[in-house]
C-alpha cells in the first residue's frame, strides 16, 4: 500500500509536468469569454479593476500620465481577446507599453491582486479566475523589469 502511494506520487508529479507545461498565451476557445459574462461582464470587471488600482497607492505613480478612458477601452479589448472573445486589440504591444516604466515584481503582484479582487467582486469562479491568471502570467516577462 505504501509502496503504491509512493509510485502514485512520483507518477503524478511526472504526469503533471508533462500535461501542464504549455504556457497559455490566449484562450483556445470562447468558453472563458462566455464565463466572464462576455463584453458586458468584462466591462464590469475592468471598471472594478480600475477602481481597485486607484486604491493601490504603491502603483499609482505608474498611471500618472495615463489617459484613463483610453486605458479602460484597451483593457476591455485586451481582456475580451485574451479570453477568446470576438474583439480586436488596438492597443500597443505589451513590451512596448511597459518598457522604461520600471515595473517591479511587487508592482506586478499588486496589480494582479487588484485584478483578483475585481474578479472576485464580479463573481467570477475560482476556475475561470485561474484560467485568466495563467494567461496573464504568460505576459509577465514583457511587463516586469523592462
Amino acid at each position: 500500500m505504501l509502496r503504491l502511494c509512493t509510485v502514485l506520487f512520483l507518477t503524478l508529479s511526472l504526469a503533471a509536468c508533462q500535461v501542464f507545461t504549455h504556457s497559455a498565451i490566449q484562450a483556445q476557445d470562447d468558453s472563458l469569454y462566455k464565463n466572464l459574462g462576455e463584453l458586458e461582464g468584462i466591462t464590469k470587471i475592468i471598471d472594478i479593476f480600475i477602481y481597485e488600482i486607484g486604491e493601490t497607492d504603491e502603483v499609482l505613480h505608474h498611471f500618472e500620465d495615463s489617459n484613463i478612458d483610453r486605458f479602460r477601452e484597451k483593457q476591455i479589448e485586451h481582456l475580451c481577446l485574451l479570453s477568446g472573445g470576438p474583439c480586436e486589440y488596438t492597443g500597443d504591444e505589451m513590451l512596448e507599453v511597459h518598457q522604461g516604466m520600471n515595473i517591479t515584481q511587487a508592482d506586478f503582484t499588486a496589480i494582479t491582486n487588484a485584478l483578483i479582487r475585481a474578479l472576485d467582486e464580479a463573481g467570477v469562479s475560482i476556475g475561470d479566475r485561474n484560467r485568466l491568471l495563467a494567461i496573464i502570467a504568460s505576459m509577465h516577462a514583457e511587463v516586469v523589469y523592462q
Binding site: S13, F20, A24
Partner: protein, 282 residues
C-alpha cells in the same frame, strides 16, 4: 517539559530573532502561497521536503523573514522543530533551526541544531515555463553524541538540489505546485540519530517530492514523500510520507496540519500520527 512553558520559550525565541531584522526594508511582493512554508529542518519548503523557494514573499528588490514552529506526535515519539530564516532578494536563504525528539516513555531525548543555506540558481516557480531551481546545504550538529549508536557521527551536512513549479491553471482549473528534490545525505532520521552507520557510512542520493493543489487561494492540500537512508544493521529506517492541508489566511501566517507516516524509528515500527506547524512571515 510542560507544553505551555515550551510554547512561551519558543515565542520568546521568535520575538528575539524577529527583532534582529526589523530595521531591514521588508515587503511581500509575491503572490500568496508562492513562498511555501517551512520544513522540519528549517528550510523553505513543504513539511518534510525543502523546495526551491526562498523563504517569505520577498522579490528580488526585497528582504523577507520567517519563523516557524512544528510539532509531531506519532505512536512512540514526539518531535518538535522551530527556527527562523531570512531570504535575501529572492536569491539566497539562510536558516537556523532546532530539532528535538523524545520517546513518549521518557527514555530517549535527542536534539540537533541545523544551519541551512540555499541559493536560487534560476527560474521562477510561476513565471518561467521551466521550474525554479535551487541548491542548498543543511549543516547539522547533534547535541547528544553519547546517545548515538557508536558507528555514527554526531555532525554532518546534507546537500540538495530542488526544482519547484507552479501551474496557475492546473488540474480542475486549480493551481498546482510540484516539487522534486534530490538530496545527498547520510543523516539518520534527519540526523537526530547521527550520520552514517555500520551498514553504510556513505552519502546516498535520495529523492523527495511534494505535490500540492490550491483549492482556493487560501487552502492548499497535498502530500509528500521523502526517501531515507538505511545505515544501521540493528534497526531499519523507512521513507517518510504525509498528507497535509495548509491554511494561508494572509501573507503573514500559514498553518499546516498533516497525517504523517514515519515508518520504523529506532527499532519501533509503524510510527504514524499528526503534525501541526505554524509559520509567521515578515
Amino acid at each position: 517539559m510542560t507544553a505551555p512553558r515550551n510554547f512561551l520559550k519558543t515565542l520568546a525565541y521568535f520575538c528575539c530573532c524577529f527583532g534582529v531584522f526589523v530595521e531591514v526594508s521588508h515587503a511581500g511582493g509575491q503572490l500568496i502561497g508562492s513562498a511555501g512554508v517551512t520544513q522540519m529542518e528549517g528550510s523553505a519548503g513543504g513539511g518534510i521536503v525543502p523546495w526551491a523557494t526562498i523563504t517569505g514573499y520577498g522579490t528580488r528588490d526585497e528582504q523577507s523573514s520567517t519563523a516557524f514552529s512544528s510539532f509531531v506526535s506519532v505512536d512512540d515519539y514526539r518531535m518538535r522543530a522551530y527556527g527562523v530564516a531570512h531570504g535575501f532578494n529572492n536569491r539566497t536563504e539562510v536558516s537556523v533551526a532546532r530539532l528535538e525528539v523524545s520517546a513518549k516513555d521518557g527514555g530517549t531525548e535527542l536534539s540537533e541544531n541545523i544551519i541551512g543555506l540555499k541559493v536560487r540558481l534560476f527560474g521562477d516557480l510561476i513565471f518561467t515555463p521551466w521550474p525554479q531551481v535551487a541548491i542548498g546545504a543543511q549543516y547539522k550538529h547533534g547535541l547528544n553524541a553519547k546517545g548515538l549508536p557508536a558507528s555514527s557521527d554526531s555532525t554532518g551536512t546534507d546537500f540538495y538540489v530542488a526544482a519547484t513549479k507552479v501551474w496557475l491553471d492546473g488540474p480542475f482549473h486549480r493551481t498546482l505546485a510540484v516539487n522534486t528534490t534530490l538530496r545527498f545525505s547520510k543523516a539518520n532520521q534527519l540526523g537526530l540519530l547521527g550520520f552514517g552507520g555500520d551498514n553504510s557510512d556513505d552519502r546516498d542520493l535520495l529523492i523527495e517530492t511534494s505535490v500540492g493543489l490550491f483549492l482556493t487561494r487560501n487552502w492548499l492540500v497535498g502530500g509528500e514523500y521523502r526517501q531515507k537512508p538505511d545505515n544501521f544493521n540493528a534497526f531499519k529506517e523507512d521513507d517518510w510520507k504525509n498528507i497535509f492541508v495548509s491554511y494561508l489566511p494572509n501573507k503573514q501566517m500559514a498553518l499546516t496540519a498533516a497525517f504523517v507516516d514515519l515508518g520504523n524509528i529506532g527499532g519501533l515500527s509503524d510510527q504514524n500520527g499528526g503534525y501541526i506547524s505554524l509559520q509567521l512571515s515578515y
